[in-house]
């Protein structure tokens, strides 16, 4: 009897495993991991995987509905000799730099204005947001009419004022078209910059301005030495986002010009769509999209390190 008891398999290892699992379930360090898991899964599934797949596709000759073979850098080699691609790079940079700079300048100016004590302040602030609220495609269609070769309200007005003889060729001339789409983008992007900067402005303590005024600081000095430094972190965030949105813009161009006239307004995003989806060259389209990544990384790094280098922002004393 005693023998039998001794020979029974011992359930100990199982208990030990269970204990380890139990510990993993309650261990504080592991708990953090468990909580992060769903978020990580979402990020990997919806961000990392598509990005990785896009980069992989750019090394293949995949077409829609057909997985391609690995072709190395062939797509990039072809693009490096493709005038339309380089034109789209130039357009994208021009579009981003000009539109972002103007959006920042006008947005900041608007934010400062709205921060003053104006009559109907709440209504004015709401009105400023309108371009941002209207769906892009809708505002793009409105601009399409404004820029129409025959029916433009601008041309019509100027003609009736007797300032011009014939309609302005807004979207038919390469440079006119570029400035036209840039203007539309600025119109749409300003509210985002203005309202976010306004939020930043409101966090600046009025006592600082009072002290500066007592010290005899001019309006410019108050802006330069109080407003601007305290606003830098917000500016960094706003401009990073603004540059990213502008660089990857698609809808506006697609509705207004589809990249025309003769590819003068093709951005990298629109060219990528045209090659990948409409023409079916997924590999080449992915290569164009992948080529946008270094530019985007550079934009992020410039914003981050250029505007956030002040040590006090990391809790240290300023130099």
């Amino acid at each position: 009897m005693a023998q039998l008891t001794l020979n029974r398999p011992r359930p100990l290892p199982l208990a030990r495993a269970a204990a380890a699992w139990d510990r993993l379930k309650v261990n504080r360090n592991w708990l953090g991991f468990w909580f992060m898991l769903p978020a990580a899964a979402i990020l990997i599934l919806f961000l990392a995987y598509p990005l990785g797949l896009g980069v992989w596709l750019s090394f293949t000759d995949a077409r829609i509905g057909r997985s391609g073979a690995f072709v190395g850098l062939e797509n990039y080699a072809w693009l490096s000799g493709d005038d339309v691609f380089w034109l789209s790079v130039f357009n994208t940079l021009l579009y981003t730099v000009v539109a972002s700079a103007i959006k920042f300048a006008v947005g900041l100016y608007l934010a400062l204005l709205l921060n003053e004590n104006l009559p109907f302040k709440a209504i004015l602030r709401a009105v400023v947001l309108i371009p941002f609220i209207v769906p892009t495609v809708l505002s793009a269609i409105a601009f399409w009419w404004i820029y129409d070769a025959q029916f433009s309200i601008v041309s019509w007005s100027l003609r009736h004022l007797g300032w011009i003889d014939s309609n302005i060729n807004f979207l038919g001339d390469p440079w006119n078209a570029r400035w036209s789409v840039i203007f539309a983008n600025i119109w749409r992007g300003i509210p985002f910059v203005a309202i976010t900067l306004l939020a930043g402005l409101q966090t600046v303590s009025p006592s600082l301005y009072e002290a500066a005024t007592i010290d005899g600081a001019s309006a410019w000095q108050r802006f330069r030495y109080i407003t601007y430094p305290l606003l830098t972190p917000i500016i960094a965030v706003v401009m990073t986002f603004s540059v990213l949105f502008t660089f990857t813009d698609f809808q506006l161009i697609w509705v207004l010009t589809r990249g025309g006239p003769v590819n003068a307004t093709h951005l990298m995003a629109t060219l990528s769509y045209q090659r990948a989806i409409l023409s079916g060259y997924l590999g080449e389209g992915s290569a164009i999209a992948t080529a946008m990544i270094p530019f985007l990384l550079a934009a992020i790094l410039v914003s981050w390190f250029g505007l956030q280098r002040r040590k006090w922002q990391q809790g240290e004393a300023n130099d």
Binding site: R63, Q150, S166, N169, G260, P261, V262
Partner: protein, 442 residues
């Protein structure tokens, strides 16, 4: 996304069934009789789904739904229909063909079935049946159905959407022409006179899939130029192309300013507003003008004509083809074939052709007699577009490469590059050649 579409589809299917109550009993009687004697008996329990290009005229779609409903009543085979903009059918069909799942039938553009010919059901029996019964297929339809030199049909080339010259009669007469110019030389003189009289016209030179591709291909072919030869070798860089470019620039100088920014809708708007007096388009401008009480004057004063003939000495028009295909993976191939045949039988097809008001042109010779072509003489030119059109790819094969060259706007951009002065003749041709060579590399 797919699920949602499917669900919407199912609701659409119910709506179709409900609408069926309105169908005339005559159609149903015919359908039943047809189902009894048709050479294709649908498999038991068969049900079909079809993705088709989205209609331009509501009445066409209504007539189409009636046909589908009659088919369902007669054969017991329910048909669910999804609609996509005509440019979007191709990517979806490609994915379906390569994954082996999706709609049973696709009704798309140009050379769709040639993107994946081995995945498509052989429908030679249907094509032969219809061809014998209805006076034979026009030549261009045979190419779209079988490929150049092909032996079996992989789609049913249902119809074309024609693009012809739209012009104002009064301004043509004022320009000194009794009828619309028949040659490119006359056409240039006409355009010059029109501009001088303050009644200019214009062709879209932007990325307008329909209008810009139609006239740019016409212009290239009219001068003997071609993107590729019959072996798909790129031959765009040629003296003929150069003369086409020279002609287009002279013509461009006589057009209204701004055509470089035009999309497919721009010339419709400009014509209906009286801003332009000639352009290339389907029948949509005329139909819209007739419907609008304020545009009656334009409707009365406009007409349609064939494109002028150039040094090539023959019609070189380019019209949109809509082929209907069935996938090999379908579980109900006989039902697919029965539906294809049913659609093109006279009792259905004539009503459908009439409902489409001249937008769509048949490919079976017998339908030349449809009253839609004679009731209003202004629609008559559209009757012949199937006989006059060349096929996508020109001399070369209809297929994926030709379709890509069109969707990449290679020809349109070549003309735009030269007309706008962005490039010289050689530069514009070299650019097109470079792009085409990549598409046509083996």
């Amino acid at each position: 996304m797919t699920n949602l579409t499917r669900r919407t589809l199912m609701q659409g299917g119910t709506a179709i069934a409900a609408a069926g109550a309105l169908t005339g009993p005559a159609l149903l009687d015919f359908a039943k009789a047809w189902a009894q004697s048709a050479p294709w008996k649908p498999e038991s329990g068969a049900q079909l789904s079809m993705l088709r290009w989205k209609y331009f005229v509501q009445s066409e779609d209504d007539a189409f739904v009636k046909i589908m409903d009659a088919f369902t009543k007669a054969t017991g085979v329910p048909v669910t229909i999804a609609r996509e903009s005509y440019e979007d059918v191709q990517p979806k069909a490609s994915v379906a063909a390569n994954t082996g799942a999706g709609q049973d039938m696709f009704w798309g553009l140009y050379s769709l079935p040639f993107l994946f010919p081995e995945k498509v059901l052989d429908v030679s029996d249907v094509a032969d049946y219809l061809g014998k019964k209805y006076g034979g297929w026009v030549a261009s339809a045979q190419i779209y159905g079988k490929g150049t030199g092909g032996t079996h049909w992989i789609d049913i080339p249902v119809c074309y959407s024609g693009s012809l010259m739209n012009y104002r009669i009064s301004s043509m007469q004022k320009a000194g022409f009794k009828e619309f110019p028949k040659t490119t030389e006359e056409f240039l003189a006409y355009a010059t006179a029109c501009k001088k009289n303050g009644t200019p016209g214009g062709f879209a030179l932007g990325h307008a899939s329909g209008d810009a591709n139609a006239w740019a291909h016409w212009c290239l072919w009219a001068h003997g130029g071609n993107l590729v030869d019959k072996n798909d070798k790129v031959i765009i860089n040629s003296p003929q192309t150069a003369s086409a470019l020279e002609f287009s620039k002279k013509l461009y100088e006589q057009m209204i300013p701004g055509v470089v920014s035009w999309n497919d809708a721009s010339n419709n708007k400009a014509f209906l507003a009286g801003e332009i007096h000639w352009t290339d388009n389907g029948i949509s401008i005329y139909v819209a003008a007739k419907k609008d009480p304020t545009k009656q004057e334009i409707a009365a004063d406009m007409n349609h004509a064939y494109y002028p003939i150039g040094p090539a000495g023959k019609p070189t028009e380019f019209h949109l083809m809509y082929p209907l295909l069935a996938m090999k993976y379908t579980k109900y191939p006989n039902a697919c074939k029965a539906l294809m045949a049913f659609m093109l039988e006279a009792d259905q097809f004539n009503a459908w052709l009439q409902a489409s008001q001249g937008y769509l042109t048949h490919t079976l010779n017998a339908y030349d007699n449809n009253p839609v072509w004679t009731a209003d003489p202004k629609t008559t030119p559209f009757r012949d577009v199937a006989k006059r059109t060349l096929t996508a790819g020109g001399l070369g094969s209809v297929g994926e490469k030709a379709a890509t060259a069109i969707s990449e706007f290679i020809i349109v951009d070549m003309f735009a590059n030269y007309c706008t002065g962005r490039m010289d003749v050689k530069g514009a041709m070299a650019e097109a050649e470079r792009q085409a060579k990549r598409i046509y590399r083996s």
